[in-house]
Symmetry: C2
Subunit: 191 residues, 2 copies
Amino acid sequence: MAGVKQFNEEEALGRALDLFWARGYRATSMLDLAEATGVQRGSLYNAYGDKEEIFLIVLQRYSEAYLARVSAAFSGDDVAAALTRYLDACIAIMMAGDPPRGCMTTKTATDTALNGERVHIALKGFLDEVEKAIAGYLATPVFAARLALPPAEAARLLVTFTRGMAVLERVYQDEKRLHESARSLVKALVR
Amino acid sequence: MAGVKQFNEEEALGRALDLFWARGYRATSMLDLAEATGVQRGSLYNAYGDKEEIFLIVLQRYSEAYLARVSAAFSGDDVAAALTRYLDACIAIMMAGDPPRGCMTTKTATDTALNGERVHIALKGFLDEVEKAIAGYLATPVFAARLALPPAEAARLLVTFTRGMAVLERVYQDEKRLHESARSLVKALVR
DNA sequence: GTCAAACTTGACAGTGCTGTCAAGGATGCG
DNA sequence: CGCATCCTTGACAGCACTGTCAAGTTTGAC
């Protein structure tokens, strides 16, 4: 039972993501991770050093998947439809799981901010990327023409708003309510 | 040193509020509260039962102060100015302290949601009240006439957006950025 | 003055988490 | 085959927090 890595790293990191997602960074202990992945605590320390390192790896995967969904939403030439698709995707991401797991980055961001400098920087990087991606899509002339705001402002507003939805999801756990708010935002944003 | 309550309850609860505000519900321990208030841990258990009880009392005070600021913002007959005052007040509340303490209810709401059933219900009640109050002010004809959305929708959107600002405050700690986003929202919301 | 009630204090047991380490076993290279 | 290397495992020390409690002290009512 030793000599070479005994566990499937892909699978273990996937399970670690699920756990961080469900509980947030701080509320997840190494023991939790060990149980969820089936890998002994000592092995995790040996392989990754500490919880922060595991989280950073896992956030990278999360980020890639998230950006892919953002990209998928901004297709076609109807801004309102694209924005609605994007916001609905955000809602779907948060409402997945039983109980719904919410938004991993929002949970972590509000986890007293000082979770560790590197985690904080990684979160900032994630939001920067999302905002930049959205701003890029919205700058398409066919989209920009119908927006009530310049693309960059609209992108920032959307990022802020989706974080707000993540908070309200935690409080109300009411998917319908989130969709309604999302539609309101689209109405206000599209001329 | 006994027989009758030795500590100033007003002052102790005020300090408890400061601590919950700075750290969030979960990250604040009874020991922290004891140190901050100068009241022994045992005395706190004796007087209030447990942390949840203290938090509920303290949230009530917070809520009253918050609603008073909301009310103050919605004066005059210029919607854009009123909304800007409200959002600026939210920002001011979050940026106070050194380091800035952020938004207490947002921190607590995202603290893994299951902080305790009563805390959860109290948070819901707080947001309901804020939304209701804003919707009431926005329903004033002079305000409603210039909104891009019905008052109820606008109120819900504002609540969601301010929660989002609370998250971004944690991530970027950039007051200017928050004011800019706030101005964007006002632009989108006022016709 | 007496006494029950109320408050304070320090201590204790129990739990859970972290980070480290030594011992032991498997592996693959030379 | 021999051996250094790498991984696993269980254990340990240390720390922080919770909730409870008994003992002691003060108070106010009678």
